[in-house]
Amino acid sequence: MISSILQSLVSGTLIGAYYALLAIGFAIIVAVTRVYNLAYGELLALGAYTSFWLWDLYGVDILLTAPITILVLLFACTSIQKMTSLIDEPFELNNLLLTFGLALFLQNLMLILWSADEQSIAVGYLEIGVPLGITRVFSSKLITFFISIIAILGLYLLITRSYIGKAMRATSQDRYSAAIRGISVAKMDLFAFCLAAILLGVAAPLFLSLHHVDPFVGIEVTIIAFTITMFAGLARVGPILLGGWLMGIAESLTSALFGLEWTEITFFIILLAILIFRPHGVLGRY
């Protein structure tokens, strides 16, 4: 019992970094453009399918498909950004509906292109059991963990140390003042979507190494990203990482204690609990 709990703590920590990677893209879009992108998970699924196709048809190594998925998602995200910039008031609600429509479209498109079957990959070097203390984890989880941490670190440096990152933070704090000071707010919106696309493009092949993909995984991913964003507040990387770890641990503990079929609703129940008890965010104001 103790060892299974320890096992789930370790794997929850490894998965948690990946969840944080997913949440950061969502949070950047919300912080800069105020768009709650309900098509976010579907974009990840689209990237995962692209990567699956490259692996299945052309035998490309799964981790090396990232550049292509980044390109595909950059195209998709810039199109979505162009659409959201055409929206009238009430901005938030209409964008929610618009991205929901896109999510439905992408779901059905993937259903037609790849059918409703669950697709997963089998790669030798991702399925080695690595001993870690008294527990054992799959190498896929370790690889995912390290790539996620590197990507999050890179993003953190970009946001805090570069000029464009500074401009983006200014836009997220106050659009109007940022525009007065000569920041092109429209370009910042586009840049936020592009950053999210790059993060998703990195995350998509990793998703395939952890989980099977079917056209309906998107909604769960969106909810994970939204919940962590709610938990952590916007525009700060540290709390998002913490939120990711908590979600990962909560998920793997649920599956260890109650059984696999209930893990699906862990995130949803956490989300409902946060929305009910702390609707302004848990760590800092949302």
Partner: protein, 310 residues
């Protein structure tokens, strides 16, 4: 040509009542129309809440609760005519969970919270013994073996729910709803009890949605979590109501009937695999080009030409 408003209603109603004769009592078309009316009732139910400014993505849960409760009770030998209302009442009961937890949230959060609520309900129904798990329920008793009777029953439910919605819009409650929708804080400052009116909207919405779910179960005879508790069922009333025009009493019903019939009778035979693809783009186009919907456009045009007085 100045016509009084209710002439339009009488003409539409006469056509709908005479529809079985017009299509020659064809069982298939009557059945498709009955299902279209059931979805129209669902769209009206969704729109009562949306009229109050709360966009819900969780109506599949209310629809599904109505369907499951009515189906389970009627399989123990109680008449479906009674259990339909029991299903609707239990949807109202469950909707209090949304009411107490999510109704105080800001608009965008409410939408995502209801999305989460629908998934929770689906997973619970999927894993319980009594609901038959993911195998669903098969062999639900039907309302009437005669399809024409079923047609008229769903028509009556549709007309009654549209009429109720129309009366709500014209009443003091409707004024409160639109005040809350336009500006919550101003409404509160003027003495509108925002939470109470939202709760009323939610109850009415849950009752109508539960009713449509129960009707659906007794028309189709078999229900599965994977067909009636999905995001697709939550999306349908939203798209239909927005397409028809969500600020007019007849908008959601018009949108539902048009879209469902177009999809079922025209797109489904031509593109058997890809007909589900149209709903997403329809939603995107409606949001971008005409947020007021078809009936909204039509009404403002007719008002401009002086054909009707509003």
């Amino acid at each position: 040509m100045v016509m009084k408003n209710y002439y339009y209603w009488i003409i539409i109603l006469t056509i709908l009542v005479l529809m079985p004769i017009l299509i020659g009592y064809s069982d298939y078309y009557l059945f498709v129309l009955a299902i279209a009316y059931v979805f129209a009732v669902l769209a009206v139910g969704w729109d009562v809440l949306a009229y109050c400014g709360q966009i819900s993505l969780g109506h599949a849960a209310l629809f599904g609760i109505g369907a499951y409760v009515s189906a389970l009770i009627s399989m123990n030998g109680i008449s479906p005519w009674l259990t339909i209302f029991l299903g609707a009442l239990s949807a109202v009961l469950i909707s209090n969970i949304i009411g107490l937890t999510c109704l105080r949230l800001k608009a965008a959060y409410f939408t995502i919270a209801t999305l989460a609520f629908a998934v929770v309900v689906k997973v619970i129904v999927d894993n319980l013994e009594i609901t038959g798990g993911s195998g669903g329920i098969i062999g639900i008793p039907c309302l009437s073996t005669d399809i024409t009777t079923s047609y008229y029953v769903s028509l009556v439910f549709l007309v009654v729910s549209v009429f109720i919605f129309h009366r709500i819009i014209r009443s003091k409650m409707g004024l409160a709803f639109s005040a809350i929708r336009d500006d919550e804080i101003s409404a509160q400052a003027l003495g509108v009890d925002v939470f109470r009116y939202r709760l009323y909207a939610l109850w009415i919405s849950a009752f109508i949605s539960g009713l449509s779910g129960a009707m659906y179960a007794h028309l189709i005879y078999h229900i599965y979590p994977s067909t009636i508790l999905t995001i697709y069922i939550s999306a349908l009333p939203l798209i239909m109501a927005l397409f028809g025009g969500r600020l007019h009493a007849i908008g959601p019903a018009f949108g539902a009937i048009t879209l469902y019939l177009t999809n079922k009778l025209i797109l489904h035979p031509i593109f058997p695999r890809t007909h589900g693809l149209v709903y997403g783009p329809i939603l995107v186009v409606v949001i971008l080009l005409m947020p007021e919907g078809i009936i909204g456009k039509l009404a403002s045009y007719m008002k401009y030409r002086g054909w009707v007085k509003f």
